[in-house]
Amino acid sequence: MNIVVCIKQVPDTAEVKINPETNTLIRDGVPSIINPFDLHAIEAALQIKEKDGGKVIVITMGPPQAENALRDALSMGADDAVLLTDRAFAGSDTWATSYTLSRAVKKIGADIIICGKQAIDGDTAQVGPEMAEFLNIPHVAYVKKVEDIKADFLRVQRMMDSGYDIVESTFPVLLTVVKEINEPRLPSLKGKMAAKKAVIKKWTSSDIGADEDKIGLKGSPTQVKNIFAPQAKTDRKMLNGTPEEQVEALIQELRSLKCLS
C-alpha cells in the first residue's frame, strides 16, 4: 500500500508581521518549518504503516530549500521523498498547486493520500479537496480519527461544526487531517541520520508530464492584487457614561472593527 503525504514548508507565521507603513512583510529571522498540520499528516501515515503495512512517501512542491522539510519528514520515519521543483511552478495558486501535486501523485501511484487540513501561510484548506478532484477520487476532509482500514474501504471520523460523522470510503482516497488526530512523533536519531544520507528525487514539470498552461502563474486563476496590514490597533479609549451608554459604545466600536456580528 502506498501512502503519499503532501507537505509544505512554510514560514513560522506566528513571527511574520507586516510593516504597516510600507505594506511589506517583515520576515527577519523567521524560521521555515514544516506546516504544523502536515506533521499530523505524516504521523497519521506512519501509524497506518505501523498497523497495516505500506510505504510512506512524502512529496512537496516548492523552491529548492523545501528539501529540508522533506528530510525532516524522513527523519520521522517516512520511507521516501520527492521534491517538485521548477521555476515554472512559481506563482501557483491553489488550483495550479493542486494540479501539480496530483500529477506527481499519479506518477507515484497511491492508495491513500494524506494532507494537513491547511497551510498556515495560505490558510485556504483547498489543496487537499482540489487534488482529489484532479485525481478523480473521493476525499474526506477534517479527519480526526482513522477508525479502521480494511481491504476495500476505510472508516474515519470527520469533524463537523458541532460533532463528527463516521464516514466510509473506497480506495484510493484522499484525507485531510486536523490536529486532534494525533500527537506527531519527534524525529529519531537513526531517522535523522538516514534522512541526511537520503537521495531525494527532484522532479520538474516535464518529469510529471504537466501541462504548462496549468502550472505556475499561468495556470493560476487567482492572483494577489495587493497585500496590506490588517486594521491597526486603535488608540486607547475610555468609554464613559451610564452602563447602557458604555455597553452601546463598546458594541459600536467592535462592530466598526468587524469584530462583532
Partner: protein
C-alpha cells in the same frame, strides 16, 4: 510574468531582503538579485525606495466573454433540513454584489424541503435552485460537488459564494478544481470593481498577520467562501416572491458513505491559545458565580474563558484557564478583562492581544494602561447588559424590517 531587479536603479541598499517570505532576494556583485526561490508574491515591490523592483509584462490572456457569465449565486447549506445561518448572511452580501452588477441573486439548496427555498427568497434570493434528492440528506462531497458544478456549467453565474464551514470548505474546492476557476477562502470583504466588474476578494493570510486582495480576472465563476458571522444578513421581506427551479439530481453517486452522525455539545473548552475571543475574570468577580456569567458571554461570542492567577488561587476556576506569567500566554483578537487589576504578571500573558477591553470598578487599575477600550464600571452591570445587547442585535438581524 516574473519579478526582476532593474540593476541600473538598484543601489544595493538591501531594504528588500527582509521583505521576502521565501528568501528569494540576495546580493550579487553589490546589487539585489531575485533567485529561483521567488514565488511571485510581489511583497518586495513596495519595499524598494528606488522603485527598482518591477514585474515584467503579463502575457496576453483571453478576454472572457462577459455576456456569457451573469448572476450571483449563494450556496445555501443545510444540516438535517435546517438552513445554516451563514446562508442568510451570504444573501446579505450577495444582494449588494448583485445590485452593483445589476444582475440576479440566486441560491442553490440541496437536501431541504421547499419551505427552505421560500425562506431563502424572503432573505433576498430572486431564484432558488432546489434539489431534495435523498442523496443530499447526509453530506458527501461527490454528489454535492457534481450537482453544483453541473448547475454552474448550465447557468453560468459570474460569482458563487459559499459558507466557509466544515461542509463548504470540504466540497467547494472540488467544484473550483473541476470548473478550472479560482476560489478564495475565508473572505472578510467582497466588493465589485466598477470598471472591470471583477470581484475583489479580501482575506487574511499568514495567520492573520497580513490582509490580501485576491482577483480572479480571467476565469468564471469567481468563487469565494466566507466564514459565519463575518457578513451581515440582508433584509428580510415576508412577502417577497421568487422562482424555484427544481433539480432532480438523479444520476449522482458517492464513493463515500456517512455511517453515523455524532453530535457533541461543545463545552467552552475552546483552546485558550487558539481562541479569537477570550473573556477573562479576576479577583473583582468576588465569587465563582461570576464565571457563570462570563461563560454565557463566551458562549455568545464563541470564545474561551480565561482567568487571572487570583481567581485560580481562590479556586473559582481551574488552572488550565490561567493567563499570565505563570499561566498561559495568549494572543486573541479580543481579550475582555473583567475585574482584573492588570498586575504586570497578568499583562505579560495577554498584552499582545489585538484588542483589549477592560472592565473594572477602579479607575486607577493598571489594566486601563493597556486597554484599547476601558470601561470603569461594575462588571455585574456591564456584562449582563453586553449579553442582552448582543442578543438583541442578533435578533434584529432576524426580524422583519417594515
Amino acid at each position: 510574468m516574473s519579478v526582476i531587479i532593474n540593476r541600473d536603479q538598484c543601489t544595493g541598499c538591501e531594504e528588500c531582503l527582509t521583505s521576502c517570505p521565501f528568501d528569494a532576494i540576495e546580493i550579487r556583485e553589490g546589487k539585489a538579485f531575485i533567485n529561483e526561490n521567488c514565488q511571485i508574491c510581489m511583497a518586495c515591490l513596495s519595499a524598494c525606495p528606488e522603485d527598482a523592483i518591477i514585474e515584467t509584462e503579463k502575457e496576453e490572456t483571453a478576454e472572457i466573454d462577459a455576456q456569457e457569465y451573469k448572476g450571483v449565486w449563494v450556496f445555501a447549506e443545510q444540516r438535517e433540513g435546517n438552513i445554516a445561518s451563514v446562508a442568510f448572511e451570504l444573501l446579505g452580501v450577495g444582494r449588494k454584489l448583485a445590485h452593483d452588477l445589476n444582475t440576479e441573486l440566486s441560491a442553490v439548496l440541496f437536501g431541504a424541503p421547499e419551505s427552505g427555498a421560500q425562506e431563502l427568497i424572503r432573505w433576498g434570493a430572486d431564484k432558488v435552485y432546489l434539489s431534495n434528492n435523498p442523496i443530499f440528506e447526509t453530506f458527501n462531497d461527490e454528489p454535492y460537488s457534481e450537482l453544483l458544478s453541473s448547475l454552474i456549467k448550465e447557468y453560468h453565474p459570474e460569482i458563487v459564494l459559499a459558507g466557509a464551514t466544515a461542509i463548504g470548505r470540504s466540497f467547494i474546492p472540488r467544484v473550483a478544481a473541476k470548473l478550472v476557476t479560482g476560489l478564495t477562502a475565508d473572505c472578510t470583504s467582497l466588493e465589485i470593481d466598477k470598471e472591470t466588474r471583477n470581484l475583489f476578494q479580501i482575506r487574511p493570510a499568514f495567520g492573520g498577520n497580513i490582509m490580501a486582495t485576491i482577483l480572479c480576472p480571467n476565469n468564471r465563476p469567481q468563487m469565494a467562501t466566507v466564514r459565519p458571522r463575518v457578513m451581515k444578513r440582508g433584509q428580510y421581506n415576508e412577502g417577497r416572491t421568487g422562482e424555484i427551479v427544481h433539480i432532480s439530481g438523479e444520476v449522482l453517486s458517492s464513493r463515500t458513505r456517512v455511517m453515523e452522525t455524532v453530535k457533541e455539545i461543545s463545552d467552552i473548552t475552546v483552546n485558550l491559545q487558539e481562541a479569537e475571543f477570550i473573556i477573562s475574570g479576576g479577583r473583582g468577580l468576588g465569587d465563582p458565580k461570576g464565571f457563570k456569567l462570563l461563560k454565557e458571554l463566551a458562549g455568545l461570542l464563541g470564545g474561551a474563558l480565561g482567568a487571572s492567577r487570583a481567581a485560580v488561587d481562590e479556586g473559582w476556576i481551574s488552572y488550565s484557564h490561567q493567563v499570565g506569567q505563570t499561566g498561559k500566554t495568549v494572543c486573541p483578537k479580543i481579550y475582555i478583562a473583567c475585574g482584573i487589576s492588570g498586575a504586570v504578571q497578568h499583562l505579560v500573558g495577554m498584552q499582545s492581544s489585538d484588542i483589549i477591553v477592560a472592565i473594572n470598578k477602579n479607575p486607577d487599575a493598571p489594566i486601563f494602561n493597556v486597554a484599547t477600550y476601558g470601561i470603569v464600571g461594575d462588571l455585574y452591570e456591564i456584562i449582563p447588559l453586553l449579553i442582552k445587547k448582543i442578543k438583541e442585535m442578533r435578533e434584529t438581524g432576524k426580524t422583519v424590517n417594515r
